[in-house]
Amino acid sequence: MTTRDLGHDAAPRVSFYNDPKIRGYIYQFIVAAVLVGFIFWIVKNTAANLAAQNKTTGFDFLWKTAGFDISFSLLPWSRASFYWEAFLVGILNTLLVAFIGIILATMLGFTLGIARLSSNFIISSLATIYIEVIRNIPLLLQLFFWYFAVLKAMPAVRNSIALPFDAFINQRGIMVPRPIPDEQFGFTWIGIALAIAAVIALRIWAKRRLEATGQRFPVFLVGLAILIVIPTIVFVVSGASVAFELPVLERFNFKGGLQIPPEFAALLLGLTIYTAAFIAETVRGGIQAVNHGQTEAAQSLGLKDNDRLRLIVIPQAMRVIVPPLTSQYLNLTKNSSLGAAIGYQELFNVFGGTSLNQTGRAIECIAMVMLVYLTFSLLTSALMNWYNARVKLVER
């Protein structure tokens, strides 16, 4: 048997195009070249198209008068307002519906998620039916249903349906009493702030005492009592009062009170109901992800049911729940752009719709809208990364 010298000292002879490193460079060069070429091509076409349509570009339009109506706005709005004000109004309307929607959807979603895991057959079946029905129907369809088939089908103003607490519902929306706090009410705000501070101090003290002596203190009940008692005392002592401005039916429409337009109500209802189904599934998944051994270990340590849930199961479940939960919140915020389809004047409707049509600055308007959503998304993922780093399992 003869052996051949394979020349171990010399580098293997391969063609340069078979070297993975050089190949990598070539691939990347091709991708970069194609991409740059593509962008260049698009820019050139766009410039030519814009020139052919006699359109100008730039952000100068932001300081022009908008001249359209926004019926629901948190900022003072008139037809004389500028486009940049319309932009802000749109963002605020989006944030408003998203904020309230997130709170309501979280409450409903957690309730449903826990109900689905209930050992009670009827409760868990009801929750399952809700989740499976709502999750599999497009949100837009649900919004149309709530808006066109339910809220817009309400009786006319004359025949408004009266609800408890002086609220009314009709075609033009829901009218509820508006609370008007008087000047003395400022002290109550201070009282609330003091109570919150006291509860935080109580928690810290109770935790220190627990660690030092092992004695437990009913923080939750006492804290709740503080939160109720201190503001109430301040409210009574300062002699503040809250008047309610009631909605009153006049000749053609309701006057006074807080008037919730049907677009807002339908969007909020749809977003809440839809997102709650997804949150419920997230919660169920999170709780089921906690190893059963953890429950058994807690039981064998002698923890009561209450403590077992509070100290062992929920903290571990939250680690699984929170990341998908935040992305559900983000989804809700993005889905609020569907409000445009039922006439709620949120960011996309105001800026991607009306403003774009009036100014013809398609690229600028769309870019600004996208930038806002991109900011929301980046902020959310930054928050999520921070949370993940905080709750990460530290092994060894």
């Binding site: 766009t46 209930s118 050992s119 129907i137 249903f145 993005k334």
Partner: protein, 375 residues
């Protein structure tokens, strides 16, 4: 040894055997009345059912106007769902403005699709490869020429006339078949060690995922014509497909990335050690394992895509939902208190059947492929 306070020396009395562990009463005791709180919940649940079921039954069946009813019946006091409206407008809900004498063409497309899709979904059916090629490559081309016409003596029917369920299904099928491979490629690109490719993929995925679909579709409908050379127009249908596909592929990419990250490094190294190149390594070793992990996530994205097709009204297309809404708003001869509600409920039922079917199928597939991880 005297400080032990209490030591039991005799056995505890055996407890009596449970009376019943099987049967309806035992089941009810365990699942409905195990604790006082449970009993309260059961009663509340039953009260809720008693409150909601009779009106729902009345609306859907009891007081509903059947498919052969008239609009006068629908307009009566206390009338329930107006199914007569649905049955009389069914043609529009399924085909949109597609010319009535030519409707055999979409019918053939539906039948052909079902014929090719069903054996593809049944794991035991033979000829998987041929079937897949037929469904993914031949079927779209045949369908396109059949629907659009203009060849073989078929009358040309522009895409503006397509509508209803036809559009919803075409968009979903094309969207799903295109976004899946695109998503896998993006996920591989994101995992790549080449910085430029990685940056491009990450940027694309994150940008798309950050913005709502409505803005992407809007961009496709307004910006795409701007991006094209002068005089070149892009069909509305194509714009919608581009928008929906790009959107879904970014989400699929993230799901697939999760699967890729779940594969142990040893698998990559073993494949390299066998001398497999990048594509072979991915195709034969990594992707089959990774994709198996993430079937539920991918199917969830497909369900989302199916639901999202309802947004194409942005680019001016009449999908099922938009067709129903148009008829609700314009069919004056069917105007009644419950017409709009019935229309939306019908659309919801159609969407629900498809989405629920997909999710059940994914659960079935997941169980079937769950080899080696469950004992």
């Amino acid at each position: 040894m005297t400080d032990i306070g209490f030591v039991r020396s005799d056995l505890v009395e055996a407890r009596p055997a449970p009376v019943r562990t099987t049967g309806a009463i035992a089941w009810a005791q365990k699942n409905l009345f195990s604790t006082p709180l449970d009993t309260v919940l059961t009663i509340l649940g039953l009260l809720f059912l008693a409150w909601i079921v009779p009106p729902l039954y009345g609306f859907f069946f009891g007081n509903a106007v059947g498919p052969n009813g008239t609009v006068e019946q629908c307009r009566m006091e206390n009338a329930g769902a107006c199914w007569a409206y649905i049955s009389s407008e069914m043609e529009f809900f399924i085909y949109g403005f597609y010319d009535i004498p030519e409707q055999w063409r979409p019918n053939i497309v539906f039948a052909l699709g079902a014929l090719l899709l069903v054996p593809l979904l049944i794991p035991k059916a033979p000829f998987k490869k041929t079937n897949a090629v037929l469904f993914l490559a031949v079927y779209p081309i045949v369908s396109y020429f059949l629907l659009a016409g203009g060849v073989f003596g078929l009358r040309e029917i522009p895409t503006e006339k397509w509508g209803g369920l036809l559009v919803t299904l075409i968009l979903s099928v094309i969207g799903i078949t295109l976004s899946f491979p695109l998503g896998v490629i993006l996920a591989l690109g994101r995992q790549s060690s080449m910085p430029i490719i990685k940056t491009v993929c990450v940027g694309f995925i994150e940008l798309i995922r950050a913005v709502p679909l409505i803005t992407i579709l809007f961009m496709a409908s307004i910006m795409l014509p701007l991006f094209m050379p002068q005089g070149m127009t892009v069909d509305k249908f194509l714009r919608a497909i581009v928008g929906v596909t790009l959107f879904t592929s970014a989400y699929v990419a993230e799901v697939v990335r999760g699967g890729l990250q779940a594969i142990p490094r040893g698998q990559y190294e073993a494949a390299s050690a066998l001398g497999l190149g990048y594509w072979k390594r991915m195709w034969f070793i990594i992707l089959p394992q990774a994709l198996k992990h993430v079937i539920p996530g991918i199917v969830n994205n497909f369900i989302a895509l199916f639901k999202d097709t309802s947004l194409v009204y942005i680019v001016g297309m009449k999908d099922l939902l938009e067709a129903v809404k148009t008829k609700n708003d314009t069919a004056l001869e069917w105007q009644s208190g419950n017409t709009a509600t019935t229309g939306y409920i019908f659309a919801a039922m159609v969407f629900w059947v498809f989405c629920f079917g997909m999710s059940r199928y994914s659960i079935y597939m997941e169980r079937r492929l769950n080899t080696g991880y469950k004992r």
